[in-house]
Symmetry: C3
Subunit: 411 residues, 3 copies
């Protein structure tokens, strides 16, 4: 099969510290291989728990060609079901989100309960065992208000991400938050291009004027001026006096993202709390709060919590709002990106926050990133592109991402 | 070649009574195989004879990538010609329908008579034999006003369909009718999805509220309540007293479609006259006539004549109008469907019929079907879909269709 | 690989004097083979020198998926650079044309001088040799104001085209001209269809009413009436009295295009000066001049200069204006065609020429050609098309083009 050739060549030609050849981002056969290797094996972030308040609330999401329903069954359980009738293959619902007691396929009224069990099947011959004919289930996990699914038969162990990210994310209060705004972007770029972009801030100064005012991560770990390190240390020390030993402590006291992911240990998630620039209470255009405190936050000296979970989620959590970015591949050169802003459930638009101010910095930053990703994709299809050198100082996480990707490709 | 793999897997995995795997409806290579196995071998309904009243009248139709001209040559003969100039390959005409004495290729004025013979070829070197350079011909057959073509070298025997369908369709008077309305739909579904939909009425009650008021076929053969069978018998008996022994006799006196097609006998067509519900003189929204009587009809007690011819035609003939649906595949996941309403040639719009009333029931029914077909196609591309169980009681004709299809695939 | 099959079949089945089978114009794999065999090997016309007046002026052009920058470095030199950053693969500029002192990649500010040398690379580790990390260069040649590039490692010898076309084109004064108008067309046809169209004028009488009034080439070499040959001879004789022995002499004194290209000698360019019809001072709708004299022209008795350079350029040069047509393939069934009109640099729109009049004849002629090309492409996908016979009298250059093409395919 075609991808054997492509994967074989990638494995043979790959040099750590260099980018991949352009065909890694354009070939349909390799895209199909990516889908089966990553998107139908790994844990995919699909919804926020707060979208599913009542039993019967559901959202539908499309992951690499598979339509999935995520539905709350009762106060404690969320299920993930394939949105495909096991009878003739019809999509069961075309709603993006909704509420129901049972799912009824519009074609022949096969009816499924919220666990996906077949409850009615007009015309079905008696000899068939209805227990075999429910909506196929996917694995589902909840993590501090985030819902992940896996369509693999035997998914990766979710335990490590839960143990690492869970306690740090819990105070953000996502389970009790509400969605204030969301945007769905279609980015004309391979999903890996978006991750490489997210893995470094070397591009930030010239592309993200709003973002770099709030954050320190424009600097590499070895190139940060001493006075900047001193400023970060001072901010972290003030935080530690109040929050030391709790989940609100700023532990990341240097510039530069922590190393992520880890090819050897198979670590595909990362999480850290970082300092914001002095005068910035949150990631906003002017540093001022844009919404009431959310979750367990009661003051603004907590920096920003950053979470990354491969292959499709990153999150920034501030004291007043959180923003999640979920990627969904849609062919070799296209990725849908859903960006969602969450605030405290009690916050009222207009009275407690202004939507424009709330979304300004991350709407700008996201759209700036999609633009540079689209430009990169455009060049990757050139016959003239050859793998380029990555900066160990500033792009070590791109190196790590590609190294992890190639190792996974090789099985 | 790719389709060898796909066809081989389909043949190996197929289980009678179950649907096909999703890739049977999505793979480009299998679509190409379908085109060569069915659409370039079988008889394809392309036009109504009444569209070609005068010698020189023509219609152009596209069948699976091949553009064809159907042209009346004189009072008695219709020819089918490929709409491709044998010189440089230009389309000869871009008109959908028209009238001409000769076809003149717009590129270099090669000129062909209505039989496709080359009559002028500016610049053609004398050494070439013009007899070899006419428009390539396709086989053509007329059946009670319907025109079929086959682009195969040696097409299937048309005799059986002519013998079976011809006498029953003759009284409908299609040859002397006229087209009152037509719609061309683009349905985002594989052509087989449309046939599976047409092969059962299990979906009718919840999807076709107008249609089921006029027809009895919402019931399966073994699940029809006795009082319904008694009603059908009474309607058929009244019809028999008047039309017994003629082509207007309602012979189909039970619910349920007749079995169709027949894999063993290679029967790819079907035809029967069925009862309409009491009070329904025709298939209309309220049961009242929507046009003057057509063909040999002089009363409304004749039920509905139904015709199906694989792979691309179905027809309902009422006492006052007929409606044909012609399918044309346009890629693995797209089918064009042309729906045409015919009335008596003398009927005048406005005076004799209201176009809205005429088309209401079949416009609604067709569009309802395209919606469920599109939903099915959407789910068939899911990695989670597995062949599903078909109902022997209500979907026996889907079983027969798939069985016929798979046998043909296997050659 | 797929194209091996396709190319092998083409080579085996090709008969000189006949067209190619339809799949030569539709198959994606063969298109990729065309790209590597022709478009990434040959000299491609990409810009006019007069678009690059000042050092730092550049234009960007896309050739078969490769984005290229053509930039003037100083008064004497033009360079061609791949518009792809060697770092992460981003397009360096999205401008279609512009002026700059250095190219700065918008992603990470890698900075290149006008020769493509890397001048700054923020974050690049010191161990990398910057000399290896410039913008990749393509070969570039200038020919009497036309700029050609080749992305091949070892391009074809440009000497013969320079020696043949250069002296004849020099008096047109393109280097000192300016662009008065340009159109970019998307033609739904394979690039070879456009060349076959350009290789014969058998189609002219019925498709190009404006063009044939100005030109004699509607006639074939052996079918020109004696009185027409006498008229051409008289026009050429008058020209010779004045311009004999100079580049303005009309040497093509018969009808019919000169033979082009030459498969045996590998000649892929052609150039000749031909007579215009009496009363036509230029190729215009009414024969009157449409702009001031350009280049070295000082009178209208110079006919028209015609240039063809495979695979992507043709040009007509009149005493008052020139028009170039540049082809850029965009998939198996699509070609972009950029048509550009040039006049003397000093000519002022409104005062010295009227843009509508200037472009009328070649805008009409181009659009008429794109229409017949689209029609031909539509028919070439029919399963009924077989190679057709070409006219030795009128289509000898189509025969030569296909013969040249097939020989190149065979390597």
């Amino acid at each position: 099969m075609d991808w054997n050739v492509t994967v074989g060549e990638l494995l043979r030609d790959y040099r750590e510290g260099w980018t991949l050849p352009g065909r890694a981002y354009t070939e349909p056969a390799l895209y199909e291989h990516d889908v089966s290797t990553f998107w139908r094996k790994d844990w995919i972030f699909v919804a926020h728990l707060c979208e599913l308040r009542q039993p019967g609330d559901f959202v539908a999401v499309e992951v690499a060609g598979d339509s999935l329903l995520v539905v709350r069954q009762d106060g404690a359980t969320v299920a993930a079901l394939h949105n495909v009738c096991p009878h003739r293959g019809s999509i069961v619902t075309e709603q993006r989100a909704g509420h129901c007691r049972r799912f009824v396929c519009p074609y022949h009224q096969w009816t499924f309960d919220l666990k996906g069990r077949l409850r009615a099947a007009p015309g079905l011959d008696a000899r068939h065992d209805r227990a075999d004919l429910g909506l196929r289930r996917a694995h589902v996990r909840e993590l501090a208000g985030l819902i992940f699914v896996s369509t693999a038969e035997n998914p990766t162990d979710f335990g490590p991400v839960a143990a690492t990210v869970g306690p740090m994310l819990q105070p953000q209060g996502l389970a009790g938050a509400r969605i204030a705004h969301s945007e769905e972007y279609v980015v004309e770029a391979n999903w890996k291009v978006l991750w490489e972009n997210h893995a470094e801030c070397l591009h930030c100064v010239s592309n993200h004027p709003e973002y770099v005012k709030a954050n320190f991560d424009r600097f590499g770990p070895n190139t940060t001026p001493p006075h900047v390190n001193a400023r970060i240390a001072a901010i972290a020390e003030a935080n530690r006096l109040r929050w030391g030993g709790t989940a609100l402590e700023i532990e990341q006291v240097t510039t530069g993202f922590p190393s992520f992911p880890d090819r050897e240990e198979g670590r595909w998630y990362g999480c850290e709390r970082t300092a914001l620039v002095e005068g910035w209470a949150t990631e906003s255009v002017d540093g001022r709060l844009v919404a009431p405190y959310m979750g367990e936050y009661s003051s603004y000296d907590v920096g920003t919590l950053r979470v990354r979970v491969l292959p499709n989620l990153w999150l920034h959590g501030n004291c007043d709002y959180a923003v999640t970015t979920a990627l969904f591949p849609d062919g070799p050169t296209r990725t849908r990106a859903r960006v969602t802003w969450l605030v405290a459930a009690a916050a009222q638009e207009g009275a407690d926050y202004d939507r424009e101010r709330l979304v300004a910095i991350w709407k700008a930053t996201s759209e700036q990133d999609w633009l540079v990703c689209r430009r990169q994709q455009a060049g990757l299809s050139s016959s003239a592109y050859r793998p380029g050198p990555l900066s160990e100082e500033s792009e070590y996480n791109v190196i790590r991402f590609l190294s992890w990707y190639v190792k996974r490709l090789g099985g």
